[in-house]
Structures are given as structure tokens and as C-alpha cells.
């Protein structure tokens, strides 16, 4: 379990973390999402001591993370594997030796029979059996990240930290990496912490997510709760990414579909029952792990707004009026 309480961190005059508190339970996949510059990568680097924090506490399985106590920090880092956006493999080592690298740092002979079987098992887990003696420059981005994942797991860490691990990969490859992370989480019971700016990542694998903005946790909870009916304007603007243009006349009402009731043919029912005219301005379907969630923006005449809202309430549809 990782407990972060009131962590603050500045680079010179710039405050990057302004009192972050959160708790990461064992065996979950925890997402930390936000725009670039929100402080999420810094937070992750504070967790495994790559960066020192100014105040507050980070406690990993009962041990306080302190960068000035090198010996205990090293032991802690051994328990936290990490993967990166740019994979960070050694160019001159083949797949096997790249995965074995952390062993060398811990005085483990990478050529011993136990090490050999462990490394070949990991290579098999990430699906690179035929690439064992290939150098990184001959691998694709997705394959490089698979090597990095195997390397991060070679010391049997209970935690895996992912720093924008899929941001340099295309959507199809990203899916593959995400299902690998999911598999690692399920089958090996490893707690996975994912820092990302990609909604897709959080939606596909995270059981819990914290939304970071300007060095603060604005919201924390299940991804579907956070993103289907976002409560803070920062999350709304993050989700909309400025691409949608809503009509400026009339009233825009956003409908959210999830759980029971999501399957009702609500729009056609409303048109029939109320006999009103309205237009659909925006719609989106979101896939949160096993469930599909939808959202729709209707543009109605101001005089019809009240009856539309009353109808939606009757049908138990969650809605809100957009400004």
C-alpha cells in the first residue's frame, strides 16, 4: 500500500506539487491523469525517490520514502519496477542483457540457472521469445516497451510504476501494452501505478484514478464516476479538449447513460412523448473496461427546457445544463 499525504515539491520558484494526498491499495491499477505540467510525473518520481519532495509524507508498505537515506531508498527502489515513455533501454545490450541489468545492480549473476529461467519466463510473458538476442534498435516501439516491462519485473517488485508508458505508441500497440499490464496485475498480483495524459489508458485498465491539475488532486475515484459526470470544470475541459462546438442559441442539455436505463431508446421516446423539436449537438460513447457509457448533448428551445428535464428525471437519466 502506498500512502501519500500532503506532499509538496518545488523546482526553484515553481511549485509543482501543492499538497497531494492519495492512497493506492495493493493489487489495484491506479491511474494518475492530467494535462502535461500538472505534476503527475513528478509525483511518480517522488514515490520511488528519483526526486526528493519538500514536505509531506510518502509511505510505501510502512516505509517512509527518504532520498537522503541511500541504503533504505535502494531497497525501496528494488521493490518498485519502473517503465518510461521512451523505454530507456541500453542500446548495446540485447534483450536478455537489458532485462538482466537490474540483477547486476543487486549482485545477482544473470547467467546462473535460476536467473536464466526467470529471464526466459519474463521474455515469454511479454511475448518476445524469438527476440531474446536481438538489440533494441531492431525492435519496434511496442516491443521495446515489452522489454522494459520485463526488465522492471526482474527483481520481483510488488509495484510497477508506469510513466507515460504508452504515450509514444500508436493506439493499436497501446492496447497490447495495456492488456499486458492488466495481465501482470491479475496474474502476478502486482500493484500498477499509471501516469498518463491519455483517457484511453485510464478507461481501459484503471480501477481507480486521480485527476491532477496544477499540482493538486482535483478528484479521485472510479474512472466512470470521474469522467462520465465530471464534477469540476478542469476535468470537463480536459475531456472536451476544446474540439466540440456547441450551439450558442437555445439550451444545451447533456445526458449521461450508464448502468440500468442505458439501453432505453430515450431520444426517440422523448420526441414522441413530448412532441418537441430538438437537435443532437454532440455524442460520445466511452468504453470503461467491461462497460459502455454514453453521453449526449441535446440542443432545445429555451421554453422546452423545463419539460425536457422533467421527462429525463422521470426516466432516471442523469443530466445537466451546460453553460
Amino acid at each position: 500500500m502506498i500512502t501519500i499525504s500532503n506532499v509538496q515539491k518545488s523546482f526553484q520558484d515553481l511549485k509543482v506539487l501543492k499538497g497531494v494526498s492519495l492512497q493506492i491499495e495493493d493489487r489495484e491499477i491506479y491511474g494518475i491523469i492530467g494535462q502535461s505540467g500538472a505534476g503527475k510525473s513528478t509525483l511518480l518520481r517522488c514515490i520511488n525517490g528519483l526526486e526528493a519532495y519538500d514536505s509531506g509524507e510518502i509511505i510505501v508498505d510502512g516505509t517512509l520514502v527518504r532520498t537522503n537515506d541511500k541504503a533504505s531508498l535502494r531497497l525501496l527502489q528494488k521493490r518498485m519496477g519502473m517503465i518510461f515513455q521512451n523505454f530507456n533501454l541500453l542500446e548495446r545490450l540485447d534483450v536478455y542483457d537489458n532485462i538482466a541489468l537490474p540483477m547486476k545492480f543487486w549482485g545477482i549473476n544473470p547467467r546462473s540457472p535460476e536467473s536464466r529461467s526467470k529471464i526466459t519466463d519474463l521474455i515469454h510473458l511479454v511475448g518476445l521469445d524469438d527476440k531474446i538476442h536481438v538489440k533494441p534498435r531492431e525492435l519496434s516501439g511496442g516491443q521495446k516497451q515489452r522489454v522494459a516491462i520485463a526488465r522492471a519485473l526482474v527483481l520481483d517488485p510488488p509495484f510497477l510504476l508506469c510513466d507515460e508508458a504508452t504515450s509514444a505508441l500508436d493506439p493499436e500497440i497501446t492496447k497490447g501494452i495495456l492488456s499486458l499490464l492488466q495481465k501482470i496485475n491479475r496474474e502476478m498480483g502486482i500493484t500498477v501505478i499509471v501516469v498518463t495524459h491519455q483517457m484511453e489508458v485510464v478507461k481501459q485498465i484503471c480501477g481507480k484514478v486521480a485527476f491532477l491539475s496544477d499540482g493538486r488532486v482535483l478528484s479521485e475515484g472510479k474512472p466512470e464516476e470521474l469522467f462520465i459526470k465530471p464534477s469540476v470544470p478542469e476535468i470537463k475541459s480536459f475531456l472536451r479538449d476544446g474540439s466540440e462546438l456547441l450551439p450558442e442559441t437555445g439550451v444545451n442539455i447533456q445526458l449521461f447513460f450508464f448502468g440500468p436505463g442505458a439501453e432505453q431508446p430515450i431520444v426517440t421516446q422523448m420526441a414522441r412523448e413530448l412532441g418537441k423539436d430538438f437537435s443532437i449537438s454532440w455524442a460520445k460513447l466511452e468504453d470503461f473496461r467491461e462497460n459502455v457509457y454514453g453521453s449526449l448533448v441535446l440542443n432545445v428551445q429555451p421554453e422546452d427546457a423545463e419539460s425536457v428535464c422533467a421527462f429525463l428525471d422521470r426516466k432516471r437519466i442523469y443530466w445537466e445544463v451546460l453553460d
Binding site: 528519483l50 531508498l73 527502489q77 523505454f87 548495446r92
Partner: protein, 219 residues
């Protein structure tokens, strides 16, 4: 006369070639071994290094620039007392290894510093995240990743030492370059000049070829 001259020319040049090899080999070896130390200190204390220490980095960097800006022919004379201290004499092939090495140290130190600092910072960060000590990062990441680049630097050093060794004739160092100057240039023996130049051209090409081959193999 023709035959006699050719025979003596062969032995003169062969002897000179061995002298060149001897001077270049030892001065390369010593300067690489010694120059590696400041290169590592510079890498570690650089602003982006594992332990940035500005005063150390800047002082060392300044010193290296100072020594690099000495014209070799001046250095050759300046270090005569030092050469005498180390070798016991100031003249001769062995004695010329001292100024050659001294001029090569700052050169190779700078080249190796650049080679080491080109290491991908992400890889260093990854090593840190797995709990590597500074010494392990230096050995398993910095040095390991930079070997092909450092090798390129050594090839560059060997080739410039071949050139510098010609000037070592001033202190009785001998070598191909010295023969080219004394026999070929000063005594108007064009055949010596041509043969010496050809040997140097082939020699330098050969070293570069071996270097390129090794670089490819190592990287």
C-alpha cells in the same frame, strides 16, 4: 649506386616506421589511460552529471582548454625538464613519448568526456530507478554505452598522434614524418618524400578502416 641507395632507403624508412609505431603506440596508451580520469571527473561533475559540482567542472575544463591551446612544438621544448625527469634524457624516440602523451591527454580527455556525456539520460534514470549505485551507473551505463564512441575518439587520437610524431623529430624522435622532413624536404630527396607520404596515407587509411569496422561491431 641506384641499388645501394634503394637498399639503404628501405632500411631507413623501415626503421623510421617502427619508430613511428613505437611513439604512437605508447603515447596513445598512456594518454588514454591518464586522460580517462579527468574525462570521468568531468562527466560526473558536469551540470547534467550524477554529482554536479560547478567549481570542479569549470576549473578542470579551463585547465584542459589551456593545455589544448599550447602549440605542440612549444610544448615539446617546454616539457624538456620534465621529460628528463621521467625518461632520464630529453632526446630520442622514447623521450619524445613524454611530450606526445602530455599533448594528447587534454585532447583525449575532452573527447572521452563528450563520448560519455552523450549517454541517453533516460537510461541513466532507469538505472537509478532500479537502485543502481553511482559507481554501477558509471560502469554499467556510462562506460558500457559509450565504448563505441570512445573508440572513435581513440582512432581520432591515433591519427593526430601520427601527425604530431613528425614534429617529434625536433627532439630526435625519428619516425616516418621526420624522415620526410629531413631527407625528403631539407635534402631535396623527392623519392623519400613520396614514399614517406604514401606510407603515412596508407597507414592512416588502414587505422581508420579498422576503427570503422570495430565501431560497427561494437555498437
Amino acid at each position: 649506386m641506384g641499388i645501394a641507395t634503394t637498399a639503404s632507403m628501405t632500411s631507413v624508412i623501415l626503421n623510421a616506421f617502427w619508430q613511428t609505431l613505437y611513439m604512437v603506440f605508447w603515447s596513445t596508451l598512456f594518454s588514454v589511460l591518464i586522460g580517462f580520469i579527468p574525462a570521468v571527473i568531468l562527466t560526473l561533475t558536469a551540470p547534467d552529471g550524477l554529482h554536479p559540482v560547478r567549481p570542479v567542472y569549470e576549473t578542470l575544463s579551463f585547465l584542459i582548454n589551456v593545455f589544448r591551446s599550447f602549440p605542440f612544438i612549444i610544448l615539446l621544448v617546454l616539457v624538456i625538464p620534465f621529460t628528463r625527469l621521467i625518461v632520464g634524457k630529453a632526446i630520442g624516440t622514447t623521450a619524445s613519448i613524454v611530450p606526445l602523451t602530455l599533448s594528447a591527454i587534454p585532447f583525449i580527455a575532452r573527447i572521452m568526456e563528450n563520448a560519455l556525456r552523450e549517454t541517453n539520460p533516460g537510461v541513466i534514470e532507469a538505472a537509478k530507478s532500479f537502485g543502481a549505485s553511482d559507481f554501477q551507473i558509471l560502469l554499467f551505463v556510462y562506460v558500457k554505452e559509450s565504448i563505441p564512441r570512445m573508440l572513435n575518439g581513440v582512432i581520432l587520437l591515433i591519427i593526430s598522434l601520427v601527425g604530431y610524431s613528425a614534429m617529434a623529430g625536433t627532439v630526435g624522435g625519428g619516425g616516418i614524418g621526420d624522415i620526410a622532413i629531413r631527407f625528403g624536404y631539407q635534402q631535396y630527396k623527392t623519392d623519400y618524400l613520396v614514399v614517406c607520404s604514401l606510407i603515412l596515407i596508407v597507414f592512416v587509411q588502414l587505422i581508420q578502416m579498422i576503427g570503422n569496422h570495430l565501431y560497427k561491431k561494437l555498437s
